[in-house]
Amino acid sequence: MVSSAIPGTGRFARGLHPDDKKSISAGAGIEVLPTPKSVLIPLLQHIGAPCEPAVKPRAEVRLGQAVGEAKAFVSAPVHASIDGKTAAATVTTLPNGRHVAAIPITAAEEQSLSGQALWEDIYGGQWPTDGLGSFDPEQIVTAVRSAGLVGMGGAAFPTHVKLTPNEKRPVDTLVVNGCECEPYLTADHRLMLEAPAPIITGALLAARAAGAERIIVAIEDNKPDAAEAMAAAAEGTPVQVAIVQTRYPMGGERQLIPAVLGREVPTGGLPLDVGVVVVNVATAAAIARAVIRGKPLTHRVVSVTGEGINQPKNLLVPLGASYAELVAFCGGLADSAGRVIAGGPMMGFALAELDVPVTKGTSGVVVLTEEQLRRAEQTACLRCGRCVDVCPAGLVPTKIALAARHQDWETARRYYLTACFECGCCAYVCPANIPLVQLIRTGKATMPKE
């Protein structure tokens, strides 16, 4: 049963409701991508310190073997996602523009796991919901850390940091984020339909680690089938499934926590400050796999969708596979394709070339057609206030962006530049087509620290 008894209203203020375009790929069951000839494992796939290489060039590695070690606390190790042989580390440019070191692995002839067997190993089989008390919190955090888990909804913050209990700020609620509020993306949706059991197990384990009493899976009301599947899997457990309004950016922690719990996360603070930990559904499933099966994060589900791809699909892909590989498996780009985006169309990054590896935070590949792109010329700000009307953070985006453009840091601070979390709602509605988010992002990077 889907329970609606949550303290919040299921809504947040402002935001948008763009055409969600989920139907393009929502019906496509998850397929396992055939093992690629090679993968490229970036040593930094998360927020925090990069890993250090843990293997020599031309070493034989097995699926799941660590190839990068995390020395810092806020970091996460990376693992081989196929069986094969490493080569000398190179540098790759991730979609967000960061240049990072990466270890290439050439696939061995024989793979120990592929196809259906791989799926079964990762998400199939039985997932316990009873007797999890035998895992003590420290053990869970350690397993999560060595499995290299990071937030798989896009932010890619190391999960063990979130789950480590903090005596000063006790946690009472774990929110499992199944909103997937970006248009087009359906990876989490399919995962909830096809593998709800590991998500529930992972949620129970995460709550145990963080010390949360209450567990709520939040799902937008455009995915009733996913909510049903999750509720069925949660039967007999304390996990609650709650429906929230379909509204962008519901999946943002600062929107989701007020919507579900009626608590406001302080600006500059963390969900922890209001006693909440949020994990994405795919992350929850990976927690279960790490703790119960002792397996690291090596694969993830990625939606390859949009009007510009020939055969939209949801794929289980090894981390480090190139976008080109995914696109080719989905029938290639349509003639009308105009832009390939890593992530969703609101917050994702356009790819200059497709020869870039999929990372832990890659939730989708969206191919838009030429005519869908924003092409209108930029005019002066009309001061219409539309950006103010939609900003979910309650800011005045035009003031911040134009102050950042003129490097007027006093004004930028007065209008709370740093409170912007770059959701893109403001630029989405701006009739003057001002690149508000880009200006704000550049402003954040260049504003002198006080």
């Binding site: 007020p258 406001e264 497709l354 924003r374 209108a376 001061r383 206030g385």
Partner: protein, 327 residues
């Protein structure tokens, strides 16, 4: 492949589409003006639009900026200005008003988006002061000897009558029904409350105009006029006369809602509208002018930077905390 920053999708509503929307909202008002004043409406609006376009092209070329007639903002200024004129306004007044509107009202400040005052009202206020006889009460009256072009133009405007009554002179108060439909004398676009409501509500529903502005203006006028009525229960000019008569609705829906010269925040917009409504009542009641929409809008335009500052919304989660000293 070419890249660009996100978001990668949008609403498809551009500056030009916003301006076209305003023109659509003005269609009922223009139609009503044609119904009441015949060809005069078409002529005044046509002259103002043509003059505004010419002024925009000339001044932007003089400033060596790319000429941007394609954004339709000069057309909007022209239509709004034309509809705020008396039916028999001479051509040269229209032309002067248009050139002042675009030149002084807009281009001097740096063009669309940079101006502080509503361009159409800058032009209108200039000619009101420069040609008082042509834009005062007499400028609306038919003075020829033959048959008048339409019946309404032989009577004084309802606002002039109200002024006379207030001064203790005799006068025939316009009925509410004619004020609502629009078959009374007045500036071309203001006479029909019905047309202003239809076009104005369209703009509000499309979010082209911010609904907080007309709401604030109408509420302010209703409250102030209501109090006045309570103090003078025998007055013939009632709250509804104040709301339906004169340029209040035209100004509240089409002039004050100019995005560039109104506040950014929802609260600021409401205060802006309410301030405009209150000033309209002050001018109607205490000044020598029968109507005060243009000066009210201009005065409120000047307060916009302050209103924007005072109404900065509270960010969700509270203001950014001051950086703490490391403990």
């Amino acid at each position: 492949m070419p890249v660009a920053p996100g978001p990668h999708i949008g609403t498809g509503r551009t500056t030009r589409r916003v301006m076209i929307d305003v023109l659509l909202g003005l269609v009922p008002v223009f139609a009503a003006a044609c119904w009441v004043f015949g060809w005069y409406a078409l002529m005044q609006v046509g002259i103002c639009v043509a003059s505004c376009l010419a002024a925009e092209a000339l001044f932007t070329a003089m400033r060596r900026r790319p000429v941007s007639l394609g954004d339709f903002s000069a057309v909007v200024t022209g239509v709004i200005l034309g509809l705020s004129m008396p039916w028999r306004c001479p051509v040269h007044v229209d032309v002067v008003a248009s050139f002042v509107a675009i030149g002084v009202g807009k281009v001097i400040f740096g063009g669309l988006g940079h101006n502080i005052f509503n361009p159409a009202m800058v032009g209108r206020a200039f000619v009101t002061i420069a040609f008082p006889a042509l834009l005062g009460a007499g400028g609306y009256l038919y003075t020829g000897s033959g048959t008048p072009p339409t019946d309404v133009v032989t009577a004084a405007t309802p606002m002039t009558v109200a002024k006379h009554l207030a001064a203790g002179k005799a006068g025939q108060v316009a009925g509410l029904w004619p004020l609502f439909l629009g078959n009374v004398n007045g500036s071309l676009g203001e006479t029909s409350a019905l047309a202003c409501l239809v076009g104005g509500l369209y703009l509000c529903i499309r979010r082209t105009a911010a609904w907080q502005i007309p709401l604030g203006a109408v509420l302010a006028v209703a409250v102030i006029a209501g109090v006045g009525n309570l103090l003078h229960p025998q007055a013939q000019w009632t709250v509804l006369h104040h709301l339906l008569g004169g340029a209040l609705l035209y100004g509240a829906f089409f002039i004050a809602t100019d995005p560039v010269t109104s506040p950014l925040t929802p609260r600021g917009k409401f205060i802006f509208g309410a301030g405009m409504g209150a000033l309209v009542m002050v001018i109607r009641t205490y000044s020598g002018y029968p109507e005060g929409v243009q000066f009210s809008v201009l005065l409120m335009n000047a307060t916009v930077p302050l209103l924007n500052r005072w109404t900065v919304p509270r960010p969700v989660g509270g203001p950014v905390p001051a950086p703490k000293a490391q403990a």
